[in-house]
Symmetry: C2
Subunit: 255 residues, 2 copies
Amino acid sequence: MLQRITEGDARGTLAIMARQVTSTTLAQAVADHLRMRIHRGDVSPGERLPAERELAEQLGVARISLREAIRQLREDGYVEVRRGASGGTYVTELRRPAEAWRARMREQVGEMDDILDFRIALETETAVLAARRHSESSLVPVREAVDALRDVIGRTAFRQADSRFHVALARAARNERLEEAIEAARGELFSPRDLLPFREPVEETLRDHRAVYDAVRAGDADGAAEAMRAHLERSRQQLRIIVFGAEDDAEWPAS
Amino acid sequence: MLQRITEGDARGTLAIMARQVTSTTLAQAVADHLRMRIHRGDVSPGERLPAERELAEQLGVARISLREAIRQLREDGYVEVRRGASGGTYVTELRRPAEAWRARMREQVGEMDDILDFRIALETETAVLAARRHSESSLVPVREAVDALRDVIGRTAFRQADSRFHVALARAARNERLEEAIEAARGELFSPRDLLPFREPVEETLRDHRAVYDAVRAGDADGAAEAMRAHLERSRQQLRIIVFGAEDDAEWPAS
DNA sequence: CTGGTTGGTGTGGTCTTAGGACCTTTGGTC
DNA sequence: GACCAAAGGTCCTAAGACCACACCAACCAG
């Protein structure tokens, strides 16, 4: 109904050809990529990124492009750079970016829920597919990620175990598009359980993961989907507390 | 955590920092955008794109970038370009790109299923959300898209009505991420029902759409999800026939 | 046959990217 | 203390992407 410019006009011209198309600069793409990896916890606070020359080669970009990306991350407080023999690019404790993320989520009401609804769409179906078509071997990493959560100490370990679980499950579902979309969505969420003042609910998460794992292993697609949905809804509640909850409960870890 | 720089290995360096990061050229982005719109059927065979200067401005790019994109599309057989007063860029009958798409789907076994599983993930949850939070007014376009299918004549009209249904439903679900992802996934699928030799199953699609619509309107989230899943599974069967089925049934439309 | 619309082409300038050479800082080793 | 190696910091050159603008060439309607 919006298709035609006018009925009288003889031409089949489209009225509007849609929103603006943009291309990102390479440096921007690299910055986004690194930021996402930090959000997801692939690199933890205190850890060092590879040396510039090396990292640039790994990412397939020129060093100057990587440097520009690092400059952005440094401005936003994600990394610190030190020179010299044991220098390098180190991930900070992420307080400033975490606080900025929190402020943004508070401002942009609904964005957090949108991301979570998106994750629910992706991950419940991932659980369904994993239940249907997992192989014995593809479940091993999932199991390991569940077990890792049992013995976890500290936030970094918690986040990494959590992340590994979701990634391993996506891999068991054998769909690269789903896997990539899940990783991207998780990158937007800042994996903030361990970065913001909040005592991570290890027990609860462990129960949730185990429930998903058991259903998947049993081939129970509906059960897996429901367990995953329940898990993500609990995550939503936790995030609500983190973003909107009492700030005075703040309890930054000593280390 | 900060101190774990040393621990076995002297440095906390990450071994591999993941896959290569690339940036697309603007022309490439424009070409992808236009190709996707053609795949989705926003522009139909025989229709003319806006004049270069105008389209470039709409897309927010320089004319030369747009021209480069058009050159790509022309090479792939998507458009033909004519000069002169009633010249312009016209969408072809798409036989060559449709055949190329079909060949690719046959070669890359599983890609089609991956895309469809991805769509199922996105669209079943979209149906759930739409059932839960639709407004009266947001259902109007959905209803119109269902009705449009009833009176449809010809492939172009069929495809456009089909496309409008899915987009309208996504909008009723009020989640931009879902909406964009659905549009992108649909763009990959080439909406090939009307471009490849196949008699479109209007009745069946109409029934499916109506079932989804009714469930959404009734607020029946589970029913909407199941109806959508059934609809997409039927689409999968149709696509299987198109891609792998008997080629001799080929029956190209006169127009 | 002429004017306006449309694609086709060329020029000049700025920004991005790549790749490499060389400098500076720093911590550790001899 | 002198020196070395490893890291980031800086600078240069060349190639390509992108843009604005002007002008050319084809075409068709009036």
